[in-house]
Subunit: 337 residues, 2 copies
C-alpha cells in the first residue's frame, strides 16, 4: 500500500490527514510540522506519527514532550507521495527536496500552476493526472467554479460565465488575529485571479471573476451570471448540476437562508468541524431568463479541496485509473451522498 505523508498540519493539512486515514487503499505514514502548541495535540490524540519539519522544531517538540518520530528527512525516506499543505514560501522550498528524492507530491491552490505543470480538479481532469509526478489541487474558489461550470459544459449549455465572489475575511481559528470589521474590501483587479486560475485546469472555459472580502469567517459565497449556449429550462440546468456528486442543491424555503444556517446543518450531520465538501447551491433561488442563468452558492474554504486531494493521491499513485471510481470511493469514505 502506498505511503502518504502530510507536510504542514494546519487548517488543510489536518483535514487531509484525517481523510487519508479513513481510506482503505492508502496509508498515512506521518504528519510533519513545526508547531508544538495545542494544534499538534490533535495529531497526538489521533495517534498519527509526528515528524518535526526543522531541527529547531524537533528540539521544541522534545521540550514539549511531543513524541516526534524524527524529522522531515526521516519521514520522506518512508514516503511514496507527499501532500504539502504548508504556507506558500515553505512549499516552494520543499518542492526542491521532493524532486531531488524523486518523491511524488501534491500542492495546494496557493502555489502557482507552473510549480507542478498540472492543476487538478477531480470531476474535470482526473485522467490527465494519472501517474504524474506532481499536481496542484486548485484553490477552494477555483474548485467550486470548475465543479459547477464543468457540469454545464458537459451538458453543452455553457457559453461563458461571469462571477462575483464574496470571500470570507479570514479562517475562523485565526479571526482573533484581525480580519476586517464592519467593512468590505474589494480585490483591486478585475478579473480577480480565480477565473483565470480555473483555466489552468480547463483552458477552454470563458470565465471572468471579481472578488470582495466581507467581514465573516464561515465560508465564501459566489453569485454567477452565465450565458447559456441556448435557451434552456430550469430543469435542464438543475439536471446538469445533478451530474456532479459534489454539488449539493439546497433550498432557501427549507430555512437554509445564510452561511451560518448551512454551517449548522453540516455540524448537525456530524461532519468533522462541520465540513462541507460540497458546493451548496440554492435550487429555488436559481433563475433562467432566456439564455441567461443566475445562481448563488456557498463554498467551505477549509473543506472543499479535501476530497479533491484524496482523488489526486489516487491519480498520481495510479491506485485507481478510473476517475468515477475514485470519486465514488472518496465520497463514501467522507460521507458525501
Amino acid at each position: 500500500m502506498k505511503s502518504i505523508a502530510v507536510v504542514g498540519y494546519g487548517v488543510i493539512g489536518k483535514r487531509v490527514a484525517d481523510a487519508i486515514n479513513v481510506q482503505d487503499d492508502m496509508n498515512l505514514i506521518g504528519v510533519c510540522d513545526v508547531i508544538s502548541d495545542w494544534r499538534i495535540q490533535n495529531a497526538i490524540r489521533k495517534e498519527y506519527d509526528i515528524y518535526a519539519a526543522t531541527a529547531e522544531a524537533e528540539k521544541e517538540m522534545k521540550a514539549a514532550s511531543i513524541p516526534a518520530k524524527g524529522n522531515l528527512q526521516d519521514l520522506l525516506k518512508k514516503t511514496d507521495l507527499v501532500v504539502d499543505c504548508t504556507p506558500k514560501n515553505i512549499a516552494a522550498k520543499n518542492v526542491e527536496i521532493y524532486k531531488k528524492l524523486s518523491i511524488k507530491f501534491i500542492l495546494q491552490g496557493g502555489e502557482k500552476h507552473h510549480t507542478t505543470g498540472h492543476s487538478f480538479s477531480a470531476e474535470n481532469n482526473y485522467q490527465s493526472a494519472i501517474n504524474l509526478d506532481a499536481t496542484r489541487v486548485v484553490s477552494c474558489n477555483t474548485t467550486s467554479i470548475l465543479r459547477t461550470l464543468t457540469t454545464l459544459k458537459r451538458a453543452d449549455l455553457l457559453d461563458y460565465a461571469r462571477g462575483t465572489l464574496l470571500r470570507r475575511a479570514t479562517d475562523p481559528w485565526e479571526s482573533h488575529l484581525g480580519g476586517i470589521m464592519n467593512t468590505m474590501v474589494p480585490e483591486k483587479d478585475i478579473p480577480s485571479h480565480q477565473g483565470p486560475d480555473a483555466k489552468s485546469v480547463d483552458p477552454e472555459l470563458d470565465v471572468i471573476t471579481a472578488a470582495v472580502k466581507v467581514p465573516e469567517t464561515l465560508s465564501h459565497m459566489h453569485y454567477w451570471n452565465v450565458k447559456l449556449k441556448k435557451q434552456a429550462t430550469k430543469e435542464e440546468v438543475l439536471n446538469a448540476f445533478k451530474t456532479s456528486t459534489r454539488i449539493k442543491l439546497i433550498n432557501y424555503d427549507q430555512g437554509l437562508v445564510s452561511n451560518n444556517t448551512i454551517k449548522e446543518m453540516f455540524l448537525d450531520m456530524g461532519r468533522p468541524w462541520g465540513d462541507m465538501y460540497e458546493v451548496a447551491l440554492w435550487e429555488d433561488m436559481l433563475k433562467v431568463v432566456g439564455d441567461e442563468l443566475f445562481y448563488a452558492y456557498v463554498v467551505d474554504n477549509q473543506a472543499i479541496v479535501i476530497p479533491e486531494t484524496i482523488d489526486a493521491i489516487r491519480a498520481l499513485t495510479g491506485i485507481e485509473t478510473d476517475a468515477a471510481k475514485s470519486i465514488a470511493k472518496t465520497n463514501i469514505s467522507l460521507g458525501i451522498i
Copy 2:
C-alpha cells in the same frame, strides 16, 4: 417661497430637512414625528419648527418639554409640499391625508411606484416630474443603478446590465438592535427588486440584479457586468460616467480600498454625518474586455437620495423647470463638486 414640510424625522428625514434648510428657493416650514427622545433634540438644536404626528405624541412631547408647535394637521395647513420619510405603513396612510388636502407630496423608495404613479431620478427623468402632484424618489440602490446606467445609455454604450448588490446589514444607528453577525444572507429571489425598480423610472433599461446582505453597516457595494452595444475603450466608458455630476470616480491606488476608508474621507471633508451623496466608483478597478464592462462602486444608503429629493421638490413645485439648473444648484448647496 414654497413651504416644504418633512414628515418623519428619521435617518432620511433629518437629512432632507437639513438639505432643504440650505436652499435659497424653498422654505422648511417644519418637521413632524412621534419621537420624544435624543433624536428629536437634533431638530431643537437646529431650531426647526417641530410638529407632533399624533395626539399621543403631542402629549409626550409636552411631557418631555419639547416645544411642539402643533400637530400634523396644523403643519399641513401651512404646507405646499410634504416630503414623507416615515416608515412604510405610515406613509401609505399619510398619502390619503395629503391627497384630501390637495398637498403635493414626495415619497421615498420604500413605497410602491403605483402610490404616486411617478418615480424620480434627477439625471434621468426630472422633466417628466414638473408640476406633478406627487412622485417617489427611488431607493438608494436603485438611484445608483439609474445614475450609472443612464450615463452609459446616453453615450449609446449600454446593451444590458447584470449586477450583484452587497447590502449593508442595517443602518449604523440601529445596529444595536441586531443586524446579522458573521454571515451573509442572500435575498431569496433573483432578480432582486432593485433591477425591476429601476424600470419604474426608465422602462427601457435591461437590468437584472441579485442581492445579498453582509454584516457591515457603512454602505452598500455593487458589482456590475455590463454588455456594451459595441467594443469600447476604458476611456470612453469613463467619459460617459464623467457626464454625471453625482458619480465620483475614486482610485484604489489612492488608498481608497474599502467602505470604511471611503467613509473616513467624507468625514474628513466635513460632510454632515460623513454623507456621500455621490456614487463612489473605482476608476482603476474598472475593466473593459471586448464588449463587456466590469466595475464596482459604493452607495451611501442614507445620503444618496438627499440631493435627488431636493431636485424632486423643485420639479414638483415648478420652482425650476430645467433639470440641469436644479441639479447644479443642489450640488453647490450640498458641496458636491
